[in-house]
Symmetry: C2
Subunit: 415 residues, 2 copies
């Protein structure tokens, strides 16, 4: 008998209990071993639940019970999650988590501890909710040299952008609707400012390229400054704006990583991923492009990924070899100002022709973008591909010529 | 040291060698064990290849060499593949294959032999080429009760349909182009008549629902009788025609399975999967819908999946627990005439109003479909949902009223 403890009975935790008991027969049959949940750690009482007697208010009985082989951490945040998870792994208990903040901040350390204590640290649910992505990358695509991972990694912002694109809703209005529908938190900063997507691209980058990447090393821009006008320009250009998390392996062994709103072409497999859905594209040298699509969040999808990790761990208890990556290294993530991209730029000007002429001379040659209902005193164009640092210098020159920079959005036409 | 033998040096076999040696360092590091290819079985000589000395013309040295732990079967067909694979498994050698005909015909038996001999029988490459799909279903979605799997499973037919839809190319012309580009065989029957997709949906059904499904038990229609007019009707209806393989779990424990061209809505995640790409949608009770997309065939994508299986097997030699399903059972796959669907029907008639009126009275109420350049003496409509047997009886009644049935295409609006 394998005993499990669940830390936290919030949205994901209660979903784990629901899925585990609802599909119990087939879950046990797939695990090939008898298992049950012995403890649920939560400070609140849930006397009405059929498993009410499993609740405990302290971590002590869990860490001190040698029968508990698998601990599920679904509390979120770093405190006390980090401490609890570390102590579990140190005592040889395997840990399954959906906590992306924890993995992005301490993944390398926790994987090392797990390895040294013949335990596993599993976190499929931390990226893409229920979409299978980490295991496919580490197992199914193992024969590939992965070149790039790009994706729509945050459902809240994708919902907001979809409303802006398809219904012409303004950002504030779309955010309010997302909050009303339960897709966005009261404090939506982590989603709309890109931090959530950043943690996920860090986990994907760490796994795919074998070295830990910290969120603070990845240049991150959210969608708060996007306007309906930007959305219209994207459409006129032939695409849509999506919040993209992207990491690429460079020829020199370093990686380029970024989270930002970007123009992508309508024909891209990521362009049709709407509402709260997530889509992740993995580009390998043998496989080409593969895309994984589904619900990136939500109680049951996320719980589904957590329980799959539980099954996998129970099935291979003490025998499973999984995932490992090296600690972070200074300079491994290249400065985003050195990475090249194509850019869409809007400048305010009384003299459109002069603005485009100046842009032409600064960038070599730009391509004007015109859209219906275009503001009068404005020029918009697409630059050639150039390092972002050079773009910034050119934009400064434009500013000094009295053309105000209204917005700058990356164009990722190879997705 | 783990030694591997590769049976067959055709397209996939040579791809396996290419990927294995090109990415050798990272492959060995991921496997965590030293391994190499010791034999390549092929009747032809390849003296120019760097690994020319590994070629053998007989299976005997391979089956008799106890150092060979993993055998890769990439010959295709059933004879001698079935005999060789069976003998390997009986002698405790694990087998990795890309051979969908073999798995669809003998999967349950070979899995049973593998289990009894502490070996593994792995076949990720048999469905979806390099797209990770079997391992995600059996591992990542293990917490789900899977309800349905539907997909575009054949790249050749998807290429042909894409050309018909987007360029108005006739079927014969599109097929000729596919042959010219190497996407279709000289004898394209297995692709265009749906047999290839049928084998794949059988493997998916067997894996997802735990019981073997034979291709001969799945009603299969190809795309050879589709015309550009059908494509235009689909567009007028608001969708596209795709060749869909589909299996659903029924409430009574049986399954419904079919391969057929179908109308799907433009908003479906499968509608945008074009050219030679494959896309597979898995619907689970916890996860909702997830879609896997990528190149469903080709030398390197398929080889990528084969080598991933090799890595997984080498990593867990003798310790890995994987996949198993029960033997087939009479009556498990329900008669397709009992399964319900919505249908698109075209009838030839001099009197359109009379045809629609008769259809209305036979089906309850039908919805007329009108498209530009519609043939003059023709009516087209969408039926309500009804069992296919009832549809056939109603169509026979229409025929007896002198309305000729031109075509009947299933409408899958819930994909």
């Amino acid at each position: 008998m394998v005993y499990i403890a669940v830390l936290g009975h919030g949205v994901v935790g209660s979903g784990v209990l629901e899925v585990f008991y609802k599909n119990n027969k087939s879950i046990l049959s797939k695990a090939g071993i008898d298992m049950d949940i012995k403890y649920i750690l939560d400070l609140r009482d849930f006397p009405e639940l059929p498993y009410a007697e499993k609740f405990v208010k302290s971590f002590d009985p869990i860490i001190n019970d040698p029968e508990v082989k698998i601990v599920v951490e679904v509390m979120g945040g770093l405190d006390p999650s980090y401490d609890y998870v570390k102590r579990c792994l140190l005592s040889g208990k395997s840990v399954v988590t959906s906590n992306k903040a924890l993995v992005a901040a301490y993944g390398a350390e926790l994987l090392e501890i797990a390895k040294n204590n013949n335990a596993n640290f599993l976190f499929e649910a931390s990226v893409g909710g229920g979409i299978p992505i980490l295991r496919p990358i580490s197992q199914c695509l193992a024969a590939n040299e992965i070149r790039e991972i790009s994706g729509i990694l945050n459902g809240t912002t994708n919902f907001i952008l979809t409303k802006m694109i398809s219904e012409g809703m303004a950002f504030d209005e779309a955010l309010a609707l997302a909050q009303k529908l339960g897709y966005a938190e009261r404090n939506p900063a982590a989603d709309v400012e890109g931090m959530d997507a950043c943690r996920k691209i860090c986990i994907l980058a760490s796994l795919a390229f074998g070295r830990h990447v910290y969120p603070e090393d990845v240049h991150t821009e959210g969608i708060t400054s996007l306007t309906l006008q930007d959305v219209k320009y994207a459409s006129a250009w032939g695409g849509v704006i999506k919040l993209i998390g992207r990491v690429r392996k460079l020829d020199d062994g370093h990686i380029a990583a970024i989270v930002c709103p970007a123009f992508i072409e309508k024909s891209s497999q990521l362009a049709g991923i709407d509402d709260v859905f997530n889509g992740i594209m993995v580009r390998g040298d043998a496989i080409g492009d593969v895309v994984f699509y589904g619900r990136g969040a939500g109680k049951l999808p996320t719980a589904s990924a957590v329980v799959a990790d539980i099954i996998d761990e129970a099935k291979h208890l003490g025998a499973r070899k999984y995932v490992y990556w090296l600690p972070a290294e200074d300079g491994y993530v290249c400065d985003y100002l050195k990475a090249s991209s194509v850019f869409f730029v809007r400048v305010g000007t009384q003299d459109k022709a002069a603005a485009l002429k100046s842009a032409d001379s600064l960038f070599g040659k730009v391509t004007e973008v015109v859209c219906p209902d275009m503001p009068k005193n404005e020029a918009a164009f697409i630059t050639p591909e150039l390092p972002e640092g050079e773009l910034e210098r050119a934009l400064a020159s434009l500013s000094s010529l009295d053309f105000s920079i209204i917005s700058k959005i990356r164009v990722l036409s190879d997705l």
